[in-house]
Symmetry: C2
Subunit: 194 residues, 2 copies
């Protein structure tokens, strides 16, 4: 199916995208050029042009690489509060301690004028939303929550606030804050059926 790839091709591609991500974090999208990546990696400029004739493609591939991993199926067995605390903890850790934190704003900004970047961020967010949604649905199935609880709104609140604080308002995401956040979400979910 997928043709057997030349290891040289893989290697240069990986090295280039790693470098692109480094630059992206430290200096922003504007600094990611064939020239800058060439300087860092030692890969010749002409080779980079052969891989990505247009710089947008390289940037988008870097975006994809930063947005790709997760692969953590959310636990949906504990009580709602525990599941939520755990999953949002992972989400917050990704924002705090991985390249995704500094890179996400770049992807979001690029999404305004680039359909491919829009797709990257959409798919990433849809996955996160689906994960949190799964937790609420499971809680419903266990009878922890009333059937008419507006899950979708709660999910968006749960995710929106950390993203807002970190990326937009520039506020920290520490454990204390996370606890109180989870608290509010749970309270809202459980009090919704009065």
């Amino acid at each position: 199916m997928s043709k057997p790839k030349d290891p040289r091709l893989i290697a240069t591609r990986d090295a280039a995208l790693d470098a692109a991500l480094t630059i992206l974090q430290k200096e922003g999208v504007l600094a990611v050029t064939h020239g800058s990546v060439s300087n860092i990696t030692g890969i010749s400029r002409s080779t980079l042009y052969r891989h990505w004739p247009q710089i947008d493609r390289m940037r988008n591939d870097a975006f994809k690489r930063a947005a790709s991993p997760s692969s953590i199926p959310p636990a949906t067995d504990g009580p709602l509060r525990a599941d939520l605390s755990w999953l949002l903890g992972i989400l917050v850790a990704a924002l705090n301690d991985t390249p995704w934190g500094p890179i996400a704003p770049q992807v979001i900004a690029a999404a305004a004028t680039d359909q491919e970047a829009r797709t990257v961020i959409n798919e990433f967010m849809n996955e996160r939303i689906a994960n949190v949604e799964g937790i609420f649905d499971a809680a419903k199935a266990r009878g922890e929550l009333a059937p008419d609880v507006p899950v979708r709104n709660l999910v968006e609140m749960a995710i929106a606030v950390p993203y807002f604080r970190k990326l937009i308002a520039g506020l920290p995401l520490d454990q204390d804050w996370l606890d109180s956040h989870v608290n509010m979400i749970c309270q809202l979910a459980e009090g919704a059926d009065e």
Copy 2:
């Protein structure tokens, strides 16, 4: 205090920044250059270089211009729900129908590597947060809310979700959604003192 400025200077500055904002919306930060602004406005490139020797300065000034206005003192006399609905309506309208919608992500992305942009977005957000906070505080003062309601968290939720939906998730902000959002915030505020 401020020296009387030459009207020519004001005029070119305004025209340049208007053009910069237009480009910013349509093509993103990368497209805002001395050259592109010169092409649109007819202002000569050398003049633009005199105003802004570094392109970042021009971009930041454009950011400031987009982030500047508001000057609407929030109404704090109605019931909480009405005040909130009104103020968030304005906030949502700004995201939907003004240049701020497309420009905000650019400012946020720039804030990662540019302290001045960080300041722009911080001041902008602090003002919004303070406005919404004022509404909650007034509701407390009227006795509508219990004194121990965690205003700050509610405020962040109220603002974070529309920003998240519009800028990050790419979801629409329509009236139906806004109503249900205000609903949840009010419910959370009023149910918090059980």
